[in-house]
């Protein structure tokens, strides 16, 4: 079975740009998660979807971060506008039951 796919693996953006990160979950998984990972803050939950419905949207990230699940096999995370403090690794994970999460390799975002 294919694992979680994330594209692109690396993204460089100028401050103020809009960027879209993509994720394809494991086929058949009902839950999808977006996390941000930094050395200082660790893993922070951005969004959680269950069967395409948004269950949690990570409060502090609401204003410039928007995750969508267009269908059961594809999700996007839009950051608009980007700021240098958004530089981080963005991880997507899917799960059959919300607990056993299967992670993608991540997208490393650098905002200049």
């Amino acid at each position: 079975d294919a694992g979680v796919t994330q594209t692109p693996r690396h993204e460089v953006a100028e401050k103020g740009q809009t960027i879209i990160l993509k994720c394809e979950p494991v086929s058949g998984h009902n839950d999808l998660f977006w996390y941000r990972q930094t050395k200082i803050q660790g893993l922070e939950l951005l969004s959680y979807f269950r069967s395409k419905s948004l269950m949690e949207d990570g409060g502090a990230f609401k204003d410039r971060f928007k995750a969508e699940m267009l269908n059961s096999s594809f999700s996007t995370l839009k950051i608009q506008p980007t700021e240098p403090k958004d530089s981080a690794v963005y991880l997507c994970a899917s799960s059959p039951d919300r607990y056993e999460q299967y992670f993608g390799p991540g997208t490393r975002l650098t905002v200049l």
Binding site: G42, E56, Y99, Q101
Partner: protein
């Protein structure tokens, strides 16, 4: 509210030595408990999980963890580490059907 603490940010051991990585959780009832590992430039992978029953659970690659209700702990152990075990290890907890909360991680370095 639930939380998880990994008191050791970095641990260094010699190859062949035994290992214990500590994890403490905060929750009144018994939560679901996990250990994940992250190798460089990769996403997280689940090592093992505890839901109920035998407090010692076995995972992949010779890892095991022991749940202690009295101590609110879920420490990870390995009898003999290999250089390839060098990675960052995350403890995670879920309680009352909520999403996973990850600890801050412990970076393990195995010296030859």
């Amino acid at each position: 509210a639930q939380s998880v603490t990994q008191p050791d940010a970095r641990v260094t051991v010699s190859e062949g030595a035994s290992l214990q990585l500590r994890c403490k959780y905060s929750y009144s009832a018994t939560p679901y408990l996990f250990w994940y590992v992250q190798y460089p430039r990769q996403g997280l992978q689940m090592l093992l999980k505890y839901y109920s029953g035998d407090p010692v659970v076995q995972g992949v690659n010779g890892f095991e963890a022991e749940f202690s209700k009295s101590d609110s702990s879920f420490h990870l152990r390995k009898a003999s580490v290999h250089w390839s075990d060098s990675a960052v290890y995350f403890c995670a907890v879920s309680a009352n059907g909520n999403v996973l909360y990850f600890g801050s991680g412990t970076k393990l370095t195995v010296e030859p």
